[in-house]
């Protein structure tokens, strides 16, 4: 497992290194970015941990395309790395046409291998989400991975497009109902940096 994670990190570093080599750092320690994201979420998979396995896409997850919106704030620790938080809201429709909602509150960490007029933010987010469906609601764990491409129209204001994966598990200590949903978000963003 450790080896696999190291390999993934190495691959990512190799992938972003060319950008970092040619990129002129725009940000300094203390720089800030406010981002508003909005777009669609596509249900990717539903996994059950009781042996039922994983089912994919709309027919497998029993959900249809939903929407996702978020507001995030990040502060740069150095020229390339920023940490912050994200508050979001997402919903998808079940086969019954009812809304399955989530309100994620995430800690976010991002690297910006390309920055300036064009920007390439790569982020991970970890935190909790309050999910609800009909009368039921629960607080659960949530993790996200996101990659985007932003263009700054002015020195402060930029627009971008983002995608990634959102992981939403539901855990029980000894219940068979433990499972995990994943979603593929495709969002547009407006960012203000300072």
């Amino acid at each position: 497992m450790k080896k696999r994670i190291k390999q993934i990190i190495m691959i990512l570093l190799i992938a972003i290194m060319p950008f970092m080599l040619y990129a002129r750092p725009y940000y300094d320690s203390g720089s800030q970015i406010f981002t508003i994201n909005a777009g669609a979420t596509i249900p990717m998979s539903a996994t059950w941990f009781d042996g039922r396995g994983t089912e994919y896409w709309f027919s497998g997850t029993h959900q249809s395309v939903g929407a996702y919106a978020s507001l995030s704030y990040e502060v740069f620790m150095n020229s390339y790395f920023a940490i912050g938080g994200q508050l979001g809201f997402m919903f998808d429709y079940s086969n019954a046409g009812k809304i399955f909602t989530n309100v994620p509150v995430l800690l976010k960490a991002s690297v910006f291998p390309l920055q300036g007029k064009w920007e390439l933010p790569i982020s991970i987010g970890v935190g909790g989400a309050y999910m609800s469906y009909q009368e039921g609601g629960k607080f659960t764990f949530m993790a996200t991975f996101e990659i985007g491409l932003r263009y700054y129209i002015t020195d402060e204001w930029g627009v971008g497009v983002h995608t990634g994966i959102q992981v939403l598990p539901e855990f029980y200590i000894k219940d068979i109902n433990s499972g995990m949903f994943t979603y593929l978000p495709v969002t547009l963003s407006a960012a203000y940096r300072h």
């Binding site: 450790k2 994670i5 539903a46 009781d50 039922r52 396995g53 089912e55 709309f58 027919s59 497998g60 997850t61 029993h62 959900q63 079940s94 086969n95 019954a96 046409g97 009812k98 399955f100 909790g128 999910m131 609800s132 469906y133 009909q134 039921g136 609601g137 629960k138 607080f139 659960t140 764990f141 598990p169 539901e170 855990f171 029980y172 200590i173 000894k174 219940d175 068979i176 109902n177 499972g179 949903f181």
Partner: protein
Amino acid sequence: MKKITLLLLVFIALFSACNSDQNISIFEDVMTDVPQDEANNRRVMGRYNDQLVITNIQGISIDGETKYQKNHIEGYFVIGNNAYFIGDNTYYSIDLSSVEPTPVKVDDIAQELGIGIDFDRIYDIRYFEKSEDENVIGSYSVLGVSGEGLDRRYVAAAVYLGGNGNIDHVYAQSIPVNQYVIRGGIYLAVPRIIGPDGAYSYYEPSTDRTDEDDYPFYYKTNDIRIPTSSGTDVIRFTVNGSGKAVETYFDGVAVGVDGSIYKYYNGSFSRLNESSSTNTNIGESYSESIQMMFPMTKYDGVIYGLNQYSTRRYFSYDTASGGNEISIHSISSYSHYDCLGLYYYGKSGSGENEITWFYFPTGGHSMRYLNVNTGSVQYNKPTIND
């Protein structure tokens, strides 16, 4: 890395603790919910005062709290005037002659079975006598399907009733059959067996199927086993006799009123010989292949079954004659191919025998009567109490 792992474990523990209510799963709710029009089709059919009673399932409230929503109905069966439900990990019964349901037994089926039963469509209801066991007055098998589209998951459950009328045992098995969904919105019963010892078994379809276009209702299977309660096979046969990947098709299976287990294979009925792995062919050969044998019901020693859709036939199997006669009857006016099963209703006013079968045509629920004396089909509506 260890710190991150530890942090994740703490997170998981915290959220698991938050989710200590074992009976509420958001994901299960999302996955098993069905459209309203489909939910509205969920009805219970039973007999009361010689009338066929059909009632919509609108949910059951106990002590003012909705315990049993129609979206979570997993299966039901009827004994006398009572309809018994399985749903939301709970058994309930409804007196068909009354309005208010009463809880019979509250149990956590999921804990007992080790799986979740999430029928989203009632599929098949059968009843088989089990007089040889004084402790069991009847056994019911309920088969439902869950999931949607090409990923429907079949779930079968068998319920056994003890001599006191209470539910003694429930067996169930989830059978993912992703490739085995039938086109046209028809969902086939997975042949299942209730063994003479009361054990429940099922056959697991193979992962590939051929000739889909020509034989959409065919399943391939390796073998069928009927385990005893100790898990030892008492009956086992392999379709092609070699135990390897099958080259032939298995058509259907049923349990006769005498407790024998029959298969329909390659155009003929066979009774499984319990003492060996060989099969004894007791039925006359029927040249026209029957792809699927529908659930059977019995009436006065005759077992009735409905065969494959397109041939529009039903068969009767007269146990009184020694179990060697199988009659095939045409049903010329039967044009629907999405029949779900047979249900014995009883005698009509004219004294003729009737078998009711019911099915879910696209977007609705309907029934037809079959006069087993004449083979005619009646389309008149039964008495319905919605």
